[in-house]
């Protein structure tokens, strides 16, 4: 049977505000699946032209698929969100790149012709499911020295990355972090972020954490506007004595969920759905697990090569800021300045937080907004590092591209 690869487009993306993990965090008494449900419902509310029965798949990522993040979340969240029973769903795990993988896996299936419209997203409630919950690494990893012992501790891999790039100092990482907070605060002030947030009602019964009763979360909790070099200078380096990685130049431990709507471009046009980004290529790559922050570089190489593009064709970057060093390594590799205006225009995970498997769609949602505002840009990319030594990159085309003078 003859087949035509179809263009896949990013229709829309939303997320919950991100929270700080832990007993005082805004989502401490909120279930992870409920976070996903709120995001999916917002997506449907924003796109009333889409008949929910036309959704062919719900792919939801979570790193720790236990409890309220288990039970095949894509399916259960779909039912809880009120999607018709005829809409199937499944769960995905690629740790930090979970939601990104939910997007690429379903996008591949759309291109193949298996689906027309999908929901792809992710969630991580790191308060309810701390990193490493229930893990049982095979002892051969260590006994046969398959990976370094630091590979499972993300902060240590970041220190390792500093070792690989001696020119990336703590000073540069902190400067990067300060800029991220500044850019995020500015994006908030300009209303760039709120438009893609779904408010979430949250209950609190523990008076030690603040006022009790029901509240409403409308903004990201982790943000620290007004962060200065001075305030970062004194922070501990918990992963290595006299090290460089601190809570200030890394993303925190967070709770949150994202959801996006993808479609075959012809279907989106036919249904009158918005087309915010067009998928160009994607790639994943593996690196030594102990320097997992290096991952975005080979992944981007692959994605560019598949697209027949070079790094200079990319007009906007959304790089997940798991660690400042990991972004700086990427920029250094490509000879891009630390404060290049094309990179993370709204700030990044250092400010907003990084609820592991949810973050990929946040990057895309922000890139889509930047595409809208900057029709002179043709291509952008979203990239992130992934635990156990991986990188993930998706290259997108701006459908608003005006032929440009770039």
């Amino acid at each position: 049977m003859p087949r035509t690869i179809r263009d896949v487009v990013f229709v829309d993306g939303v997320r919950t505000p991100f929270g700080k993990a832990g007993p005082k965090g805004i989502y401490h008494e909120t279930r992870a699946d409920d976070l996903v449900v709120k995001a999916i419902r917002e997506l449907l509310r924003r796109n009333p032209d889409l008949d929910p029965a036309k959704i062919d798949e719900v792919a939801i990522a979570a790193t720790t698929q236990i409890g309220d993040q288990g039970l095949t979340l894509g399916r259960t969240a779909g039912i809880l969100a009120g999607l018709p029973q005829s809409v199937p769903g499944y769960s995905i795990d690629r740790m930090c790149a979970g939601a990104l993988t939910a997007v690429t896996a379903t996008a591949g299936s759309i291109a193949f012709g298996a689906y027309d419209v999908v929901v792809a997203g992710g969630v991580e409630h790191m308060g309810r499911h701390p990193m490493g919950e229930g893990v049982d690494p095979n002892p051969r990893f260590v006994s046969e020295k398959l990976v370094d012992e630091s590979a499972l501790f993300m902060g240590m891999t970041a220190e390792n990355l500093h070792d690989r790039y001696p020119s990336i100092t703590k000073q540069r990482a902190d400067e990067y972090a300060v800029r991220s907070q500044e850019k995020a605060a500015k994006a908030y002030a300009n209303g760039k972020i709120q438009q893609d947030l779904v408010p979430v009602s949250v209950r609190r019964t523990n008076a030690e954490a603040g006022e009790t009763g029901w509240g409403l979360v409308t903004a990201d909790e982790p943000m620290r506007p007004g962060t200065t070099m001075e305030s970062l200078a004194g922070l501990k380096t918990p992963f290595r004595a006299h090290g460089r990685v601190t809570a200030g130049n890394a993303a925190g431990l967070n709770d949150g969920a994202t959801a996006s709507l993808l479609a075959a471009e012809d279907v989106a046009r036919e249904l009158g759905l918005p087309v915010k980004m067009r998928l160009v290529s994607y790639a994943f790559a593996g690196v030594e697990p102990e320097v997992m922050g290096y991952g975005p570089i080979p992944a981007t190489e692959k994605a560019l090569s598949k697209a027949g593009l070079s790094i200079s064709d990319i007009g906007l970057f959304e790089i997940n800021e798991a660690f400042a060093v990991q972004v700086l390594a990427f920029l250094e590799h490509y000879g891009i300045a630390d404060d290049d205006a094309r990179v993370n225009q709204y700030g990044g995970a250092i400010a907003y937080g990084h609820p592991l498997a949810s973050s990929g769609v946040r990057l895309m949602t922000q890139l889509a907004r930047q595409f809208e505002e900057q029709p002179e840009v043709r291509y952008g990319l979203t990239t992130m590092c992934v635990g156990f030594g991986m990188g993930a990159t998706v290259i997108w085309e701006n459908p608003n591209f005006d032929g440009g003078n770039k």
Partner: protein
């Protein structure tokens, strides 16, 4: 200290056991820059199985929360105030346990006034107020929201009602005065009177919205978020809330009149609550809320000090609590599993039983009878009923297939019952026939199988007496219509063992029936009392009192139907049969009416003809009646009948037919539909002095179903 605080403090001292509801105040930023908002969450700190209620300390907590938001509102630091509940529950109103404890009119008045004083502060705040009905809302829960300027409701709420009239109260924390002024008198009458008197019918979220009680409705999945987004739009003036104008003309009076007609048809003037509520609704026509609230306070206090409410709460507790924990039932761990049911007989009763067992137990059910035609008819009935359920959408095709596959009919008991765990007979009411049937069943059934009888009047002990294993025989007496009346009298024969009894109670629970343990005494509970009751009326008629007078004499009790209409429903022949059985057992008290015998002999199925719509004594029946010349007044008739009932219940308790008077009342409420305001019957007999007159003592201690000493 404000007067409200003092009032509530005094009330709290009377109710040390209150489960206290907290009123948490939490601040939040509304979406789209609509400002800082104070949200009050009502929460008793327990899970959803223990709904949030209002007692005096709870009201004081809400009062304190309102102190806080009132200050913030007047200082301009908040733009609005909302109130909502813990997950799945908004609030279910006054704590009835606290109401039961009130023994003085002034304390009752304080509770009414305390609620009003606190709730009405919400409407006096300097900023708009919003109620978000997120879950079950009843009584005072509904009312606290009515004091707010705006309301939203969740599609997911399972129950919303003003059940006060059902219990014997009025919605007295603003409901009677506010609701008609919000949604019009006619709709208010539906909610306050009609639903309450219709077995406390509950509204769903969609109806709450359609009635206009809520201004907006949102789905459960993100109800609070959407309510707050809606609130932001209202506060910013982006969304105007429009409500239809209230018709304060003749429609208002017509609505109140409709309410009175409903009350008359349901309680026949016998319970005051509905009428008091209607008086307040009628007066609310002028929109004077303060006067309405005062009237509510008075009505509440009067009703709380009245016997009908105490009976109502007593009845409510019987049905809600005692019914779930049958007194005298053996340890449920003794119960054996029931994986297949046999039904002896395939007539109408047997077929109805088969259907009930099939639907509730979902195990194979086998019908047997004496010829194939009857068996086929029985199975056919069950199939047809399954089809009806399917047609109504009550079950799906898969379930229908499953149920049909589970029911079968055979002629050979050995084939049908060899692996049955529970076999019930519903054959002709004749001891020899029943003994014969049980002997045949015992010969083929497993040794552990329960042999149950649906007899209404025969001795279970005697029925079991000729069996090898009489310890497994139990009485399992249903009430017609089987699908509707909840009562199941479970009869312990002299030799019935605990395991068999426990199994019977286990089956009853799965059948969702209200099981009451009854001694093996003639006609058990309901039929014995009803027969004595109707026998005495029949005696009065036979002796010469006109039928209309005898019937009318009973009206003030507010029974669901008149005695002769009930006899029609039961069937005169069955009524006669039971009276004959009881006459044999207790000839000194139970007579067999020759007039009734004549009616049965003439083949009449009832006493009335309904050609004109209303019941008129059938001239053919009138012609059969042979009456004496002793004519009693209504009052004399009523006294005589109630004396007889009180005497019979007293004797039954002496005989140990049931454990306590409470079980008699539970039986009458769930098996005969006797009303809540009578508390079944014994609270009423105590209240009216009948028990004292006849037995020299009341059935229930003071405070059980009456105002405490």
């Amino acid at each position: 200290m404000s007067s409200t605080t003092e009032l509530l403090k005094g009330a709290a001292e009377l109710f040390p056991g209150e489960v206290v509801t907290q009123a948490h105040v939490r601040h939040l930023d509304l979406p789209s820059g609509a400002g800082r908002f104070a949200l009050i969450t009502l929460d008793n700190g327990l899970d959803h199985t223990k709904p949030t209620t209002f007692g005096p300390q709870s009201l004081a907590n809400l009062d304190a929360a309102i102190d806080q938001v009132e200050k913030e509102a007047s200082e301009g630091t908040i733009t609005g105030v909302g109130i909502t509940g813990k997950p799945f529950i908004f609030a279910v109103g006054a704590d009835l346990k606290g109401v039961e404890l009130l023994g003085r009119h002034e304390d009752a008045l304080a509770i009414g006034k305390g609620g009003h004083d606190v709730f009405r502060r919400l409407s006096g705040l300097a900023v708009p107020t919003f109620a978000y009905y997120n879950g079950a809302a009843m009584g005072g829960g509904v009312e606290v929201g009515l004091h707010c300027a705006y309301r939203t409701v969740s599609t997911a709420i399972p129950a919303f009602s003003l059940p006060e009239v059902f219990l014997g109260l009025v919605p007295g924390w603003g409901g009677c005065a506010l609701l008609p002024n919000l949604i019009g008198a006619d709709r208010a009458v539906s909610v306050i009177i009609e639903n309450s008197l219709n077995q406390n019918r509950q509204l769903k979220g969609k109806q709450v919205f359609e009635l206009g009680i809520a201004d907006a409705i949102f789905e459960g999945a993100d109800f609070l978020e959407q309510s707050l987004i809606w609130t932001a739009a209202v506060l910013k003036g982006e969304l105007a809330v429009e409500r239809p104008a209230i018709d304060r003309g003749d429609a208002w009076d017509a609505a109140v009149a409709r309410g009175r007609a409903i009350a008359d048809s349901k309680v026949h003037g016998a319970a005051p609550a509905a009428y008091r509520a209607l008086d307040i609704i009628a007066a609310a026509k002028d929109g004077d809320l303060s006067a309405g609230f005062d009237a509510e306070d008075q009505a509440l206090a009067d009703l709380i000090m009245g016997g009908e409410l105490r009976s109502g709460i007593y009845a409510f507790n019987l049905v809600q609590k005692r019914a779930k924990r049958p007194v005298g039932a053996p340890d449920k761990n003794l119960a054996r599993p029931v994986t297949k049911v046999g039904v002896v007989g395939a007539g109408l009763m047997a077929s109805q039983l088969a259907l009930l067992f099939l639907r509730r137990l979902e195990v194979p059910v086998v019908l047997t009878d004496i010829d194939q035609e009857r068996v086929d008819k029985g199975v056919g009935y069950v199939h047809a009923e399954i089809e009806k359920l399917l047609g109504k959408g009550r079950i799906n095709q898969d379930k229908a297939n499953r149920l049909k596959g589970l029911v079968s009919g055979v002629l050979d008991k050995a084939e049908g019952f060899a692996d049955a765990d529970f076999i019930i007979e519903a054959v002709f009411e004749e001891i020899g026939v029943k003994q014969q049937v049980f002997a045949e069943v015992e010969a083929v059934a497993p040794a552990h199988a329960i042999l149950a009888t649906n007899t209404s009047s025969l001795s279970v002990t005697e029925m079991a007496s000729k069996l090898k294993n009489p310890e497994r025989v139990v009485g399992f007496h249903f009430f017609n219509p089987v699908a509707i009346l909840p009562l199941l009298e479970i009869v312990r024969g002299e030799q019935t063992d605990d395991a068999s009894l426990a199994t019977a109670f286990g089956v009853a629970r799965k059948l969702k029936k209200t099981a009451v343990l009854v001694k093996d005494a003639p006609a058990f509970v309901v039929n014995r009392i009803l027969t004595r009751f109707m026998g005495e009326i029949q005696n009065v008629i036979d002796e010469g009192t006109p039928v209309e007078v005898a019937e009318k004499a009973i009206e003030p009790l507010g029974l669901p139907m008149s005695p002769l209409v009930l006899l029609e429903l039961v069937g005169p022949a069955i009524g006669l049969h039971v009276s004959e059985t009881l006459n044999r057992a207790f000839p000194e008290r139970f007579t067999v009416s020759q007039n009734l015998a004549a009616v049965v002999k003439a083949g009449k199925r009832g006493f009335y003809v309904y050609d004109s719509g209303a019941p008129v004594l059938d001239p053919e029946v009138a012609a059969l009646l042979k009456q004496g010349d002793t004519v009693l007044t209504e009052e004399q008739t009523r006294d005589r009948v109630l004396d007889a009932v009180a005497q019979e219940i007293g004797l039954m308790l002496d005989e140990g037919v049931v454990a306590e008077a409470q079980d008699i009342d539970l039986c009458l409420i769930t098996g005969a539909g006797w009303p809540f305001h009578l508390g079944g019957i014994t609270p009423y007999l105590d209240r009216e002095g009948v028990s004292q007159r006849v037995n020299g003592k009341p059935f229930l201690a003071q405070g059980v179903a009456s105002v405490p000493a």
